[in-house]
């Protein structure tokens, strides 16, 4: 058991981070290179001011027309995305690992808060799942891959939560947790989770088009 844990948290973690960072860089650079090659006119319209206007509106809860129209979803999706980023990065156990291996450390969350954040992520995943199953407009554009993606995101949180509370099978859960986290990282550049990488660019372009040419709002 310990050997397996060493393996997943050692070499495999390296592989996961390399794929995540390398893959992300590759996707973004490949996209920009292709724009340069085939649609260079896009650069002509890019405007820092309108890119930021668009991005800032969309990452602020209730700052856009559609966020205001969908208050429940807005609260859930913001809570989800914030907890999704904050809890793994600032979890004491994670920071300790970084500290042990690299001798770097940063601010950490109290365990209680991290626990609540994990619960929020899991509950949000349930919300997204129910939405997919019940809302016709979501169901219509749902593929098996959408459930898998949701599962990939939920898994590290579920396993982490169970492992932390040590209700059963701690060693195996720990292994599963590390694995799930690695799968999620690798999935980001290569699945629709790449919206994390691309959304700033699509928003910036649309913001610029609306600001520079159409002189109206894209939010």
């Amino acid at each position: 058991m310990n050997d397996i844990y060493q393996f997943v948290s050692g070499p495999l973690a390296w592989v996961a981070f390399i794929l995540f960072i390398g893959g992300s860089l590759y996707r973004v650079i490949a996209m920009i290179a292709e724009v340069k090659k085939k649609e260079p006119f896009i650069f002509t319209y890019m405007s820092l001011k309108y890119s930021l206007r668009s991005i800032l509106h969309w990452i602020t809860p209730f700052a856009t027309y559609n966020w205001r129209r969908k208050p429940v979803l807005t609260v859930v999706t913001f809570a989800f995305h914030i907890c999704l980023f904050v809890s793994p990065i600032f979890l004491l156990a994670h920071v300790t690992l970084w500290d042990e291996s690299w001798n770097i450390r940063w601010w950490t969350l109290p365990d209680g808060s991290a626990d609540i954040m994990t619960l929020i992520v899991m509950a949000s995943c349930v919300f997204f799942l129910v939405r997919r199953l019940t809302q016709r407009e979501v169901q219509f554009v749902t593929f098996v891959s959408d459930y898998i993606i949701l599962g990939i995101v939920a898994a590290p949180f579920i396993t982490g939560f169970l492992a932390y509370h040590q209700w059963f099978g701690y060693p195996i859960l720990m292994i599963l947790h590390v694995l799930a986290g690695e799968v999620m990282l690798v999935a980001i550049p290569f699945t629709r989770l790449s919206h994390m990488l691309f959304s700033p660019f699509t928003r910036a372009y649309m913001g610029s088009e609306f600001g520079v040419i159409r002189k109206s709002k894209d939010y």
């Binding site: 559609n66 219509f140 959304s199 928003r203 159409r214 709002k217 894209d218």
Partner: protein, 447 residues
């Protein structure tokens, strides 16, 4: 809010459209595969790929679309639903789809989306559904499958450089005829043809000389009263409309727009002022010029709303008495969402009318009229689908009417025709006017 009445709820019949039926009969899967891949590989790039791989399938764009809202939120009408039924499938099957698939794709792309771009304001990632649907139209165009009525207008563009088969001499004849008519009322009025170095070239869409010559009369009257130094071309290049943009026939779109701009530059005018038309504005200001490689129009383009704003603000049109009947405003997508003219539109409306009653939502969030994007130009076979596809607009209008509005101002030709069909179908009993109609009516005229 009262529900607008619906007349004879006939079942949707199978549409007969030669442009599609004959085109489909000539297709094979091999040919389809070849064309789709040619367009996807040769004519699209990172933009399409990124849109497709970024969409998280969340459905948040759905409620932007009047078709979706009007068809009881049936997801096959949602923006992303339409993408799923077309481009996703083409990509997934690597282009190998059946002729029947293309039949449905052409129907969706041409008659179930107005390219109004409202969904782009709703998508958290700003995914450009209108562009994706436009690519479907492009593919269908290259496959030779386009609804017949709109294809006919593109043929006309190609042959005559105008949309309505207006022949060489019919154009100057119509102008002369309107000039003569107008001189009864304004003895010194001219419609100056080919006046080099004028401040403004005034351009219209071809349906004006063809069916609505009084609009040219009115425009000439306004120019006369405001003392504008203007001109119109005597030959090709006077038509600013562009149906090729909507069929994906980019090559013809380029030819028409080049002719238009070259005519203006031949006349050495300072600006092009265009009549009250939305799609033409999109073509001249946003799409066609860029296809030709001009990042901005090579000669400044001024939409009629903007022009009237300028004239009214400068007190250049003396008003006898404001328009009495309460009006409501339809914001045409192409000039408001697509051109930022919402506030100027309101300035003009308030300057001309005593009572202005807003519709909700309005300005850049307004629902499309469901005629634009070439949909109304696909002709009678699709009329029922079009009016039923915009029940939300009827509800908006009904709401404005219950608050007193009697007249709808729609400063766009397509909107005008589309709203007329909607008001007839839903028994709304409201009048529809252009700003030009109202200005002409209330301005001071010589005794």
């Amino acid at each position: 809010m009262a529900e607008p009445a619906t007349k004879n709820p006939v079942e949707e019949q199978k549409v007969v459209d030669e442009g599609i039926d004959v085109g489909i009969s000539r297709l094979t899967e091999d040919k389809i595969e070849k064309v789709i891949n040619q367009v996807l590989k040769g004519e699209t790039g990172a933009r399409l790929k990124t849109y497709v791989s970024t969409c998280i399938h969340c459905g948040l764009c759905s409620e932007a679309c009047h078709y979706y809202m009007s068809n009881d939120k049936d997801p096959k009408w949602s923006p992303v639903g339409k993408i799923k039924q077309t481009i996703w499938e083409m990509i997934r099957k690597k282009g190998r789809v059946s002729p029947e698939f293309i039949r449905r794709a052409v129907e969706i792309a041409h008659t179930e989306c107005n390219q109004c771009r409202r969904c782009m304001q709703f998508c958290p990632f700003g995914i450009d559904i209108a562009y994706l649907i436009g690519m479907v139209r492009r593919i269908c165009h290259k496959l030779g499958v386009t609804p017949r009525y709109i294809q006919d207008t593109v043929h006309s563009h190609s042959v005559t450089m105008n949309q309505m088969w207006v022949k060489g001499d019919e154009w100057p004849d119509t102008l002369q005829w309107q000039e003569e008519e107008a001189r009864g009322e304004f003895p010194k009025l001219r419609i100056p043809l080919e006046k080099e170095g004028a401040d403004i070239m005034y351009s219209v869409i071809a349906p004006e000389p063809k069916f609505q010559a009084q609009l040219i009369y009115q425009a000439a009257a306004i120019m006369e009263v405001a003392g504008v130094n203007w001109t119109m071309p005597a030959d090709k290049g006077w038509d600013n409309s562009d149906m090729a943009m909507f069929t994906g026939d980019n090559e013809i779109m380029g030819r028409i727009k080049r002719t238009h701009f070259e005519t203006a530059s031949r006349l050495r005018v300072k600006r092009i002022v265009m009549g009250e038309c939305g799609h033409a504005f999109r073509s001249v200001y946003d799409t066609g010029n860029r296809w030709l490689g001009w990042s901005q129009p090579p000669i400044p383009i001024v939409h009629a709303i903007d022009f009237y704003y300028e004239l009214l603000k400068g007190n250049r049109i003396p008003i006898k008495e404001k328009f009495k009947e309460p009006v409501t405003l339809h914001d045409p997508c192409n000039v408001v969402r697509g051109g930022g003219l919402g506030e100027k539109l309101r300035y003009v409306a308030h300057a001309l009318c005593e009572t202005v009653i807003e519709m909700y939502p309005n300005r850049e969030y307004n629902y499309c009229c469901c005629a634009g994007g070439g949909v109304i130009n696909c002709g009678p076979p699709y009329k029922l689908k079009r009016v039923k596809g915009n029940r939300v607009k009827a509800e908006q209008l009904m709401d404005a009417r219950t608050r007193g509005a009697k007249v709808i101002i729609a400063p766009c030709h397509n909107c005008h025709s589309g709203l007329k069909d909607i008001k007839d179908y839903y028994d709304l009993h409201m009048d529809i006017k252009f700003f030009g109609d109202i200005i002409y009516k209330i301005m001071e005229k010589p005794e």
